[in-house]
Amino acid sequence: MTEVTSPTAAPPAPAALRSHPLRRLLRNPFALYSIVVLLALVAAATLAPLIAPFPPEYADLGNSLAAPGGANLLGTDSAGRDIFSRLLWGSQTTLLGVLIVTAMALLVGVPTGLLAGYYGRFLDDVTSWFANILMALPGIIVLLTVRAAVGPSLVIAMIALGIMVSPSYFRLTRSTVQGVRNELYVDAARVAGLSNARIMARHVLLVVRAPLIIQTANVGGIAISVQAGLDFLGLGDPNTVTWGGMVSDGFVTVYQTPLGLLWPALAIGLVTAAFVLLGNALRDALEDAEKVKGKRPVRTAKAAAPDSKDDREHKNEGQAAPKRPEAAHLMDVRNLSIAYPTGPSDLRTVVKDVSFTVDRGEVVGLVGESGSGKSQSAFTALGLLSGAAIVTGGSVSFDDRWLVKPGDAKIRQQHYSGIRGKRIGYIPQEPMSNLDSAFTIGFQLTSPMREVLGISKDEATKRAKDLLASVGIPDPDRTMRAYPHEISGGMAQRVLIAGAISCEPDLLVADEPTTALDVTVQAEVLDVLRDLQQRLGLGVLLITHNFGVVADLCDRVVVMQSGAVVEQGPVRDIIRQPTHEYTQKLLGSMVKNAESRKTARPALTTEER
């Protein structure tokens, strides 16, 4: 307990995964394509005066609709103008449009979003209202109206479009900033006395930078397609060459030759696709970086879908779990090992050779710290492991049925049908996130009963009310009508307990059932659990890290560390005479058992300070 350095240092991320996002981006073929196309666009726009064979409006009427070849690389249009030259000249307007739109949108959207997100309140209300108005207007209609008002001008149309799309930057910046503003590290910076400007520059902008770059790639694509659309409608500036205008010209003569339409359409398609693909590739590159950073570990394992494909393959083997002839225990987990694939041929074992049993009317505590494999073991018992999980050894039986037969490599859902929800109940950890916020408590309690037991709605409702009363809910009728967000966490946990016992199971699996609750609510919920367990003679598998909860409820204890069982036995033996070093360390770490600091060390004198 006096040893201070933490031995469990997180291993540094592998070097390959830590590579710079830019390098990762360049390895993506789509990104490479995008960069090449966009560079070509810039080159065409800047070099057009030098490399274009003809001036933009040079027309040779005698040579209209010429086929590609000769002096006219891509042929000529209906007025005998060289399509290749016009494409080059048109790239100037295209690029100019993209630059104006993105610059305008960034200039309007980002600062307002930063201010609205950081300061909130009035500023937020006003700017959000404006953003909502802009978002509520169909872009083309607005641009048409602007054109009616100020006449055909590429620059003004693109400025207007920039303002029209600025809410997307505004919203993105605002929501990112709002998220960051509530992060504790920003609070810490404020406590350190950093100025708002410095916090924005150092912490906030850093976070919003990446999503803005992605958004800009997408806005570039939008700018080109809207610009082309306007020019196609003939609403652009008639004195400039544009790809949209060329499409429009080509469309008129499409019956004679589709080529006049093909070239500009291809140019537009290639460039917009380049922008969109670049946006996607950037997102992927940055998301990968996020993944390496690693989400904060969550105590509850994700409720991933059981492998449904596997189900279908095994449909023919019959619906129910296979019989197990000799059954001594209610639940018998024997030599169970569970692993997850981490690469093509790599497995990460999370449960190693774990054996324990639960008898009828017996409460077994499964104790360990995070990463000990206690939840994984329990979810195997329930058949609720993620579809990726592989059973690398061992078996699980319930009463006289195999849930995981020796030799099974996967969890098979059909083995659990008729058992899970009916004979095995489950109490989760977080009361709120385990109820569906869209349905009333009553519906969530009665629909599984009707499905599993096949009883009528009235009967299910009556039973649900009785259940709620039995878990200590004072007004069952009102609670039945309530939605989850209308009741407290303690009440929600009682509702979940009522749900777990609603089909009169023989075994309850409770995953840290009181960890998320306040200590006084925990005591009440423990009372409910103990009362039910004794009244119904339930077997209980209780997963917890709290030895107090163990002492309160359990008959036997199984201690786990990094996926393996280190010790198990009757509760008094384990708590009073732990034999394994790890159990001793766990019990020794309980501050409850330790002396108060103040009796252990002398008070400071002024000199010592």
């Binding site: 810490a188 910076a189 406590v191 005591a523 501050v591 409850k592």
Partner: protein, 288 residues
């Protein structure tokens, strides 16, 4: 509790009748009062434990002292100086005396910045040169028993307990007189929790820093505190010597807190449970 009568006020922190209310989301609704006039005080080098359940307002007290939420009433004095309503610039001066360690070791460090950046930022702001700041960061990391090469790594490369050590190092950087510890160990595993608590004690012994230690866990509070205040729905219902409040509480709510927390021995817990049931059977008129 020691005094410093000769060179300044004898109390490091003095909170009088602090009221905090939250503005509701809807404009016309009435503001929601979180603290109804809370008073507490803290001497130099002392640890005051602040215990309460969710919704009691215990974290709000800490945030109000730090200036992260505005006080609606009452006064907060640090070393005799009124810090109730300070401007951002004036806060900077106070930040040398007053620091914080938050609960969540994951969101309290900027994931995109190295440990060295995070730790040296307040030092640079206070005018230290880059080289001096780096040296000081090295000392700080050593102080919390982390290797100095941690400086160039990102938060994601550290475990929860290690991140909490880094947060402690950040709090120690300006050599503060008071650190607000807002549930600093409740997100940690049992064994890590014990080691971090010991680190807090060790630092206090060496530097004489005072802690306002906020927690929901009566046992943790007893373990680290000289005195304890118990908070219930925005009011302090009991305060006094740590041992006395946490072992032999007088107020029914504190008694409830104590008896609700299960003991790790089955037979002792059976006794405590019986006492809990007995307490629940008696009058509960003290509840608000």
């Amino acid at each position: 509790m020691s005094t410093m009568a000769e060179n300044g006020p004898d109390r490091l922190l003095e909170v009088q009748d602090l009221k905090v209310q939250f503005r509701p989301k809807r404009r016309l609704a009435r503001p929601f009062q979180v603290l109804h006039g809370v008073s507490l005080h803290l001497g130099f080098g002392e640890t005051l434990g602040l215990v309460g359940e969710s919704g009691s307002g215990k974290s709000t007290i800490g945030r109000a002292i730090l200036g992260l939420v505005p006080a609606a009433g009452g006064r907060i004095h640090l070393e005799g100086r009124d810090i109730t309503h300070l401007k951002q610039r004036e806060r900077r001066a106070v930040s040398k005396e007053l620091q914080v360690v938050f609960q969540d070791p994951y969101s309290s460090l900027n994931p995109a910045r190295t440990i060295g950046d995070t730790l040296s930022e307040p030092l640079l702001v206070s005018g230290l040169s880059g080289q001096d700041a780096r040296k000081r960061v090295g000392t700080l990391l050593d102080r919390v028993h982390l290797p100095s090469d941690a400086m160039d790594r990102l938060p994601r490369e550290f475990s929860g307990g290690q991140r909490q050590r880094i947060a402690i190092a950040r709090a120690l950087a300006p050599k503060p007189k008071l650190i607000i510890c807002d549930e600093p160990v409740s997100a940690l595993d049992l064994t890590t929790q014990a080691r971090v608590l010991d680190l807090f004690a060790e630092i206090q012994q060496d530097t004489g820093v005072a802690y306002l230690f906020i927690s929901h866990d009566l046992d943790v509070v007893r373990y680290v505190s000289d005195r304890v205040s118990v908070l219930y729905r925005g009011n302090i219902v009991e305060e006094g010597d740590a041992e006395q409040v946490t072992v032999n509480p007088q107020h029914p709510y504190t008694q409830r807190l104590l008896l609700a927390s299960p003991l790790s021995d089955p037979d002792e817990q059976a006794e405590r449970r019986a006492a809990w049931h007995a307490l629940n059977a008696v009058d509960a008129s003290w509840r608000l």
